[in-house]
C-alpha cells in the first residue's frame, strides 16, 4: 500500500514536472525556434554528409569497378608486382572452365597486357596495349560504351582502338595506320605490327584516355608470342561479394600459380580514401554536435537565468532539486524532439532531391579517378535513425550542466529580489 502511494506520488509529480517542461519551452517562442532551427540544420548537415559520402563512395567504386577494373582480377602469381609479360596464365581453358562453374562470377574478360611503342606517320607515344576479346570485354568493362568514334572491336585483323587523347597525341584519326612495337615474351625480341585505327574511346579518365590502346586478343597473343593471358577481369553477381573472402571463388583462384584479388586490393589507394571519407562523416558530426551542445547550453542558461526567481519559488514551495533537474532535462528532450522531427523532415527533402537529381561533379578528379557521372545521395535509414537518436541524446546531455546548475540553486539566493 505504501509502495503504491509512493508510486502514485511519483507519477503525479512527474506529470506536473513534464507539463511545466512542455510549456516552458514555448515561453520564449523565438528563442526556442532559433534553437530548434540550429539543431535541426545541424542534423540535416550530418545526414546530408552521410548520404553524400555514401553516394560518393558508391559512385567511385562503381566508376572504378565498372569502367574497366572489374570487381576482381586473376593474374599469374607475381605479375602484378613485376609487370613481367612472361608471367601469364597458361592453362586458360582450365581456368575458364572453373570460372564457368563458379556461380558468383557473372562474366569475365581475358586480357593480354604489354607496354608498347605506338608510332604514326607524325608522332610516337608510349602506351599500354590491351589484347581483349571484344565480346567478353563488353560484358565486364565499359569499353564499348566509351566508344566516341568508329567501331568497336569486331575480331578482324589489324583493328586498334585508341584513347581519344592518345590519338590526338599521335595525330591520327579513323583509318590511319599505326605501328605498334612490343618486346616479346621469352627472350624480349622486338615485334612489330601494323594496325589501322578502327575506333576512338574516351573513359573521361585522363590516364586511360592518354595511354591505352586495345587490339584483339589473338593478335596480341601472336604479337607477344604467348599462348595465355595476363589478366582475367571478373564481374561478380554483386559488389559485396568482393568483400566476402569466405566465398569459394577466392580459394579456387588463389593457387600456387594464380593470384586473385578484389578491387580493394587492386586499388588500395581508393580503398584507403574511401575509408577516410567515412571518417569525414564522423568528424563533421562531432564538430556539429559540439556546436549544438554549446548553442543549447547557452540557450538553456539564458532561459535558466531568466527564470531564476521562478526556480527559487519552485524549490521554496517543495519541488525537490531532483525534480527541477528532471524538468530542465525534459525541456532539452522536448527541444531535441522538435529539432529531430524538423531535421528529419528537412533532411528527407534534401536527400530525396539529391538521390534523384544527383549532384554534378562531372570531370572532377579524385585520387586519379575522374567522376564521370553525378553523385546520387544514398539514404541509409539505419543511419537516419542512429543520427536522430544521437542528436536527441546530445541535446539531453547538453542540458545536464544547466540542469545541475538549476538544481543546486539555493531558494533564498534565487529569490533574493522577492523574499
Amino acid at each position: 500500500m505504501t509502495n503504491n502511494n509512493a508510486s502514485h506520488n511519483e507519477n503525479t509529480a512527474t506529470a506536473i514536472v513534464t507539463r511545466l517542461a512542455k510549456r516552458s519551452i514555448f515561453r520564449n517562442t523565438r528563442r526556442t525556434l532559433l534553437t530548434v532551427l540550429l539543431i535541426s540544420c545541424s542534423l540535416v548537415a550530418i545526414l546530408f554528409t552521410d548520404a553524400f559520402v555514401r553516394g560518393m563512395v558508391s559512385t567511385m567504386v562503381k566508376i572504378s569497378t565498372q569502367t574497366f577494373l572489374g570487381e576482381a582480377q586473376i593474374h599469374h602469381q607475381g605479375f602484378r608486382a613485376t609487370n613481367d609479360i612472361d608471367l601469364y596464365i597458361e592453362n586458360t581453358r582450365n581456368v575458364y572452365a572453373k570460372i564457368a562453374d563458379t556461380e558468383t562470377i557473372k562474366a569475365y574478360a581475358p586480357r593480354v597486357i604489354s607496354g608498347a611503342m605506338t608510332s604514326s606517320s607524325d608522332n610516337v607515344a608510349s602506351a599500354i596495349i590491351y589484347g581483349v576479346d571484344g565480346h567478353k570485354e563488353a560484358k565486364v568493362s565499359k569499353l564499348k560504351q566509351a566508344m566516341v568514334e568508329g567501331d568497336y572491336l569486331s575480331g578482324k585483323e589489324s583493328e586498334i582502338l585508341l584513347g581519344q587523347r592518345l590519338a590526338e597525341l599521335l595525330e591520327v584519326s579513323l583509318g590511319d595506320r599505326l605501328v605498334v612495337t612490343v618486346s616479346q615474351a621469352h627472350g624480349g625480341d622486338l615485334s612489330q605490327a601494323l594496325f589501322r585505327v578502327s575506333g576512338l574511346f574516351s573513359f573521361n579518365e585522363r590516364n586511360m584516355d592518354n595511354g591505352m590502346a586495345f587490339i584483339n586478343l589473338s593478335q596480341a597473343q601472336q604479337l607477344l608470342n604467348i599462348s595465355g593471358v595476363h589478366e582475367i577481369a571478373l564481374r561478380l553477381q554483386n559488389l559485396q561479394q568482393a568483400d566476402d573472402k569466405s566465398l569459394p571463388l577466392w580459394q579456387t583462384f588463389n593457387t600456387e600459380t594464380l593470384e586473385t584479388l578484389s578491387w580493394q586490393e587492386l586499388v588500395p589507394q581508393l580503398s584507403s580514401m574511401l575509408a577516410m571519407t567515412e571518417y569525414s562523416t564522423l568528424v563533421v558530426s562531432i564538430i556539429l554536435y559540439v556546436l549544438v551542445c554549446l548553442g543549447l547550453i547557452n540557450t538553456m542558461f539564458m532561459s535558466i537565468f531568466e527564470r531564476q526567481t521562478e526556480f527559487g519559488i519552485l524549490l521554496a514551495i517543495g519541488t525537490r532539486p531532483k525534480q527541477l533537474f528532471i524538468q530542465i532535462l525534459l525541456e532539452g528532450f522536448f527541444i531535441g524532439l522538435l529539432s529531430v522531427t524538423l531535421g528529419l523532415l528537412l533532411a528527407y527533402i534534401v536527400c530525396y532531391w539529391g538521390a534523384n537529381v544527383g549532384i554534378d561533379y562531372t570531370d572532377l578528379e579524385m585520387t586519379g579517378m575522374t567522376l564521370n557521372e553525378p553523385i546520387y545521395l544514398i539514404v541509409d535509414i539505419t543511419s537516419f535513425i542512429k543520427m536522430a537518436l544521437a542528436t536527441l541524446l546530445v541535446t539531453v546531455l547538453a542540458c545536464l550542466y544547466p540542469a545541475a546548475h538549476a538544481a543546486r540553486l539555493q531558494p533564498s539566493f534565487a529569490m533574493r529580489k522577492t523574499l
Binding site: A13, L314, I317, T319, L419
Partner: protein, 246 residues
C-alpha cells in the same frame, strides 16, 4: 459552504498536536566576511505557538526577510538552530527539506510569484500534485479554496490574465491548500491597493481563526499590524520587542 477546516484531516505525527510550531535558538545569519561582514540577524530566540497571527516588523534591512527565510528553510543559518514542528531543519538533507517545506510550510511572497505557464487552478494544485494527492481530492480542495478566496470562474486564467489582487489571492490559495502547519508571508500586501489588501488580510484572519492556521508576516503595513495578535520588532538584526495582544 465547505471550508478547508472541514476537509482537513488530522496529521498523524505528534508535532501536529504540539503548541509550539516554530522555535529559533540563538539564530544568527551573517553575510560576507572581514570588513564587508553584515550581521543580518543576531541571536534571535523566538517561539511561535500554533494559531498565532504574528507580524515581524522593523525598518528595511533589519533582518525581517532573513528571519523568514531561515524559518522557512530557504537559507542556512550561520549559527543557531530552527525547530519547525519540533524538527531541526538544519539537520535535514536537501530532499528532506524540500519535502518538509512542501508538507508543512506555505509561502506567500510580495511579488505573488506564481508560475506563469500554469493556470490559476494549476498553480493552486501544484503542491498537491507534488504530494501525490488524488485527482478527486485535489479537485475538491481547489473548488473549496477558490471559493474561499473569491476566485470562482477564474480557474483557467494564467497569472498574466489576472489582476495583482487576484494573483495574490491565488498565491494565498496555493499556500493554504496543502494545509501546512504555518504560513510565512513576506509583505503580502505591499503590491496591492489598500482595498484589496484589506480584503486579503481579512480573508487570512478568518482562515486563521477558523482553522487555527499559524501566520507569520514580515511587514511594514499598519493594516497587518492592526490585525496581528503578536508583533515582533527587529532592529539591526536583533529582536528588540515582542508584544502580545489580546
Amino acid at each position: 459552504m465547505t471550508t478547508l477546516a472541514q476537509n482537513k484531516k488530522p496529521k498523524n505525527d505528534d508535532s501536529a498536536n504540539s503548541a509550539t510550531v516554530i522555535e529559533t535558538k540563538a539564530l544568527c545569519r551573517h553575510f560576507g566576511q572581514g570588513d564587508t561582514l553584515v550581521k543580518a540577524l543576531t541571536n534571535a530566540n523566538l517561539t511561535i505557538e500554533r494559531g498565532e497571527f504574528t507580524a515581524i516588523i522593523g525598518p528595511s534591512g533589519s533582518g525581517k526577510s532573513t528571519l523568514l527565510q531561515l524559518i522557512g528553510g530557504l537559507d542556512s543559518p550561520t549559527s543557531g538552530d530552527v525547530l519547525l514542528d519540533n524538527r531541526h531543519i538544519s539537520q535535514m538533507t536537501g530532499s528532506e527539506l524540500s519535502d518538509f517545506r512542501r508538507d508543512h510550510i506555505g509561502f506567500i511572497f510580495q511579488a505573488y510569484n506564481l508560475i506563469p505557464v500554469l493556470s490559476a487552478k494549476e498553480n493552486i494544485e501544484y503542491i498537491m500534485l507534488l504530494q501525490g494527492i488524488s485527482a478527486h481530492e485535489r479537485a475538491k480542495r481547489v473548488t473549496t479554496i477558490m471559493h474561499a478566496v473569491g476566485l470562482e470562474g477564474l480557474e483557467d486564467r494564467r497569472p498574466a490574465e489576472l489582476s495583482g489582487g487576484q494573483q495574490q489571492r491565488v498565491a494565498v490559495a496555493r499556500a493554504m491548500v496543502s494545509e501546512p502547519s504555518i504560513i510565512l508571508a513576506d509583505e503580502p500586501t505591499a503590491n496591492l491597493d489598500s482595498k484589496t489588501g484589506i480584503e486579503l488580510l481579512d480573508m487570512m484572519k478568518t482562515l486563521n481563526e477558523q482553522q487555527n492556521m499559524t501566520f507569520v508576516f514580515s511587514t511594514h503595513d499598519p493594516k497587518i499590524m492592526e490585525r496581528a495578535k503578536r508583533i515582533i520588532r527587529l532592529v539591526d538584526g536583533c529582536v528588540v520587542d515582542d508584544e502580545r495582544r489580546n
